[in-house]
Amino acid sequence: MILIIGGAYQGKLDYAKSAFNISDEDVFICNGGEIDFSKRCIYKIEEFTYGHPNPIGYFQTHREEWQNSILILQDIFCGVVPMGAENRAWRQNTGRLAQYLSKEATQVSRIFCGLEQRLK
């Protein structure tokens, strides 16, 4: 599995498309419900984690299904602690999920202003 992280609008999906020859049909865009792991690339995982009580548990349950995937996650956990409890939980759960996925990944890349920084 390849994990791509980075801030909003930094070019994470563009990087995935050019580095791994992915087209729009290969991309599942998370929206809060179930993730379709049959797609090669799972995008906006931070939308899946928003309001989800246990994102790591969900990924553990489906572990076999994303072993060869490209997972894209916005690093929403770098900013100030939000005022709202819901956003605080979102921030923490997303950060923890990033750690879990990063351990599992064979490659971790951070995208900064369109440029790749290899973290693992």
Partner: protein, 181 residues
């Protein structure tokens, strides 16, 4: 030689940018492109602090809160330019004070195009931006548009500049090119 510098607030971007500009100028003309429009006491303080920081470094100040290419009407394009910051230029274009801060997307696109053209036109430039993309917050539509427009500028500048540097707590990550000083 062109540099693009970004990172968090008060992490040392401006200090690095000033040092880089002076080093690139090698004793030649170097300009500080003053982009900020003061909106009150807090901004006045910040501007005063930046002026004091630059004291004795030999900068010529060019006031330019919009249309960055207009700098070249008064400054020599073969000089070295410090633009601090893309963030302020975009803010002045996207939310113009004279239009009561009403969002102006056309001006934002012009601002982006001019910055890229500027980086390609002048001999040496150091352009500073702000990294504002990693929050757990659902922003208003206009704030989100601001982040999107700035990210577009950042990515285009990162693509055309010779070097791209991220500053975190005064430490540098070089994403592209060399530091050269």
């Amino acid at each position: 030689m062109t540099y693009f510098i970004s990172g968090g607030a008060k992490n040392g971007k401006s200090t690095l940018a000033q040092d880089l500009t002076v080093a690139l100028a090698k004793g030649g003309k170097h300009y500080y492109v003053a982009t900020m429009i003061s909106t009150g006491e807090e901004d006045d303080d910040r501007i005063r602090r930046h002026i004091a920081d630059r004291d004795g470094m030999g900068f010529e100040t060019v006031e330019c809160s919009k249309n960055v290419m207009s700098c070249l009407e008064v400054a020599d394009k073969d000089g070295t330019f410090l633009v601090d910051s893309a963030t302020a230029l975009l803010q002045n274009a996207l939310f113009p004070v004279e239009k009561n801060y009403e969002m102006d997307m056309e001006a934002a696109h012009r601002c982006a195009d001019e910055l890229i053209r500027f980086a390609k036109t002048v001999r040496h430039a150091v352009i500073v931006s702000d990294y504002i993309y990693s929050d757990a917050e659902r922003y208003s539509e206009s704030t989100e548009m601001y982040r999107k427009c700035l990210a577009d500028i950042d990515r285009r500048l990162a693509a055309v500049c010779d070097a791209v540097i991220e500053v975190s707590a005064g430490q540098l990550t070089i994403h592209k090119g060399d530091l050269c000083i």
